[in-house]
Subunit: 213 residues, 4 copies
C-alpha cells in the first residue's frame, strides 16, 4: 500500500532489539480456536504447530513460559459487553472442551497459567507481576488471534515498557486481512516482528553464553 | 475481502446498542497530529472538524466530556520502549507546541483532562475512575489515530465493560489502510460503529426525553 | 488517642452516604482463615457468622454479590515477594481444603467469583469491570482480614470512585490492634463504617421503594 | 500488644532482603503536608529532613529516583469519592502552593515525576512501567502519610512483586497511632522495615562493588 510510506517518513518502526531476560507468552491456543467452525480459521493451526517447536526450545533453554486462555462463567455474565459483541465467547466455560489448552502447547508444572476474561493477557491477570518477579524485559508473543488478543497483549506489553517480540509465524488469525494488517501496525508502533527461527536462535545463543561463562 | 465471511459465520459483530449514560472521549487531537509532516496525515484534519461539531452537541446536551493527550518527559525517558519504536514521540514534551490540544476541540472547565504516556486513554490514567464516578456505561470515542490510540482505548473500554461507540467520521489516521482495517476489527469484536450524526441524534433525543419528564 | 484530634481539625472522615446501586463484596472467607492455627484468629469466625446473615439479605433483595478468594499455584511461585513475606500463603493451592470458601458464605450460580493472588480484590482480577457492567456505585465490603485484604480492597474501591461501605461487624482480623487501627483509617480516608444492621436496612428499603414504584 | 503474637505463630514478617536493582520513591512531600494546620502534623517534617539526606545519597550513587505528588482539578471533580471523604484534597489544584513539592526533596531533570489523584503511587500513573524499564526489583519507599499514600503504595509495590523497603524514619504521618500501626502491618505482610542509614549503606555498598568490578 503506497499510503504506508508516511510511516517511514515519520520514522516509525525502529527496532527494539533483544534485552537481557526473555519470556515466552502463549495466548489462547485453545481447542475452540483450533476448530475453523468454532472460533478458528485461516492459519491458526499452522501457528500452533510452529509454537509447539518454539515452546520446546524455550523449555530446553530455560526461558520462562506463560500461558493464558480465555474463559467466561455463567454464560458470559462476567465478561460484560464483550459477550454482547461476540456471543460465541459465552460458550467458553472454564471446564468446557473448547476452552482447554491445545495438548501440544499445554502448560507443565512451574509455568505461569492464568484464565483471562478479556482480550489482553495483562487485563485482569497478574501477568505483569509475574514478569517483574522474574526480571523479564523481553516478551516473545505467540497465540491467537493476531488482530484480537495477540494485538491487545502486545499493546499492553509495550505500555508496561517491555520489549514485545511478535513471532510472526507463531501467531494466527481466522482471516488473512486482519492478520496482516495487525502485523503491520504492531511492527510500526509497538513490537519487533521476528520469526520462530529468530526466537530459537536467540534462546540458544543465550544458553551458550551462559554455559561459556 | 471474501476471507472475512468467517466473522459472520462465527456470529461476530453483534450490536451493543446505547446504554443509559453516555460520555464523549476525545483522544490525541493535538497540534502535532494535525500536521501531515509531523505525526498526522490522511483524514485526521477532517475528523477534527467533525469532532468539533460533535463536541458542541455534547456540551449543549450535558454529555460529560473527557480529553486525553499524549506527552512524554525528558526526551522520552518516561515512555520506555514506545520511544525506541517511535522516536518522534520523544519530541512531544508536555509544554511543546505540538503536544497542545487543537484549539477547536480544547477542553473547558469541568471536563476531564489527562496526559497519557502510552496508547490507551485508560493506561496510567484515572479515566476509568472518572467514568465510574459519573455512572457512564456508553463511551463515544473520537480522536486519532484509529489504528493506534483510538483502537487501544476501545479495547480497554470493552475490557472495562463499557459500551464503546467508535464514531467513524470523528476518528482519523495517517494512512487509509490501517484506518479501515482497525474500524473493521473494532466493529467485529469490541464496539459499535456509529456516525457523528448518529451520536448527535442520540445526545439530542436523551435531552428531549429528560425535558419531557 | 488524643493525637487523633488532628483528623477532625483537618476535616477528615466526612460521610459518603449510599448511592444508587449497591453490591456486596465478600473477601477471603476461606477455610484456612477460619482456623486460628492456620491464618485465622480473633474475631474472624464471628464476622463470618454475621456475613452469612448479610449475604442472605443481599440475595433476598436482589443486591449483586461478588466473592473473591486468595490462592497461589506452584508453591507460591506466582505471587512473587508476597510469598517471601508470608510463607503460609504458599500452601493455599487453588484445590487445597484451606483455600475453599467457607460453606455458609459460598457463592451460588450467577454471583461473581474470582481467585486473586494479592491483597486487593481488584488487583489482577476483572472485578472493576464486573461492577461497571452492573452500574454499581456503592460497595459493601466484608471479609478478612481487616488490616490486609479488606483494607487493600477498600483503598482500591475508593480509587475507582466507588462508595466503599466497610461493614464493621462483618470484617475480621487475626488480632484486635490491627483490626481497630484499620477501621479507624478507612473511616477517616476512604469509606463509611456501617453495621450489618445498617446494610440490611438499606437493602430492604431499596426493595420496598422499587416494589412501591 | 500481646495479641500480636499470632503473627509470629503464623510465620508472618519474614525478611525479603535487597534485590539487584533499587529505586527510591518519594511520595507526597508537598508544601501542604509540611504544614500542621493544612494536611501535616506529628513527624512529617522530621521525615522530610531525613529523606533529603537519603535523596542526596541516591543521586550520588546512581539510584533512580521517582517523585509523585497528589493533585486534583476542578475542585476535586476528578477524584470522585475521595474528595467527599476528605474535602481538604479539593484545594490541592496542580498549580496551588500547597500542592508543590517541598524544595529540599524536589525532582531534578531525569527523575520520574508524576501527579497522582488517589492514594497509591501506582494507581492511575505509569510508575510500574517506568520501574520495569529500568529493571528495578527493590523499591525504597519514603514520604507521607504512613497510613495513607505510603501504605497504599507499599501494598501495590508488593502486588507488582517488587521488594518494598519502607524507610521507617523517612515516612511520616499526621498522628502517631496510625503511623505505628501501619509500620507494623507493612512489616508483617508486605515490606521490610529499614532505616535511612540502612538504605544509605546499601546504596554505597552497591556503588563500591561496581567500582571495584
Amino acid at each position: 500500500m503506497t499510503d504506508l510510506s508516511v510511516y517511514e517518513k515519520q520514522h516509525f518502526g525502529k527496532p527494539l532489539g533483544f534485552g537481557r531476560q526473555p519470556a515466552l507468552l502463549i495466548i489462547d491456543f485453545q481447542v475452540g480456536f483450533a476448530k475453523p467452525d468454532v472460533l478458528g480459521g485461516f492459519n491458526i493451526n499452522e501457528s500452533i504447530a510452529r509454537t509447539t517447536e518454539l515452546l520446546r526450545s524455550a523449555r530446553a533453554t530455560g526461558v520462562p513460559v506463560c500461558h493464558v486462555r480465555f474463559a467466561s462463567e455463567a454464560h458470559g455474565e462476567d465478561i460484560g459487553t464483550f459477550a454482547m459483541k461476540v456471543p460465541a465467547l459465552k460458550d467458553l466455560a472454564p471446564d468446557s472442551t473448547d476452552a482447554q489448552f491445545v495438548d501440544s502447547v499445554a502448560p507443565i508444572e512451574g509455568e505461569y497459567v492464568s484464565i483471562k476474561r478479556h482480550s489482553s493477557a495483562f487485563f485482569g491477570t497478574n501477568l505483569a507481576s509475574w514478569l517483574i518477579s522474574r526480571g523479564v524485559d523481553t516478551l516473545f508473543i505467540t497465540g491467537c488471534t493476531t488482530s484480537g488478543c495477540v494485538r491487545a497483549s502486545t499493546v499492553d506489553a509495550s505500555a508496561y515498557s517491555l520489549r514485545p517480540m511478535v513471532v510472526t509465524d507463531c501467531v494466527g488469525d481466522r482471516a488473512q486481512g486482519p492478520h496482516e494488517a495487525s502485523l503491520f501496525d504492531m511492527g510500526q508502533k509497538y513490537a519487533d516482528l521476528v520469526t520462530m527461527r529468530d526466537a530459537v536462535a536467540h534462546f540458544e545463543s543465550r544458553q551458550s553464553t551462559r554455559r561459556a561463562a
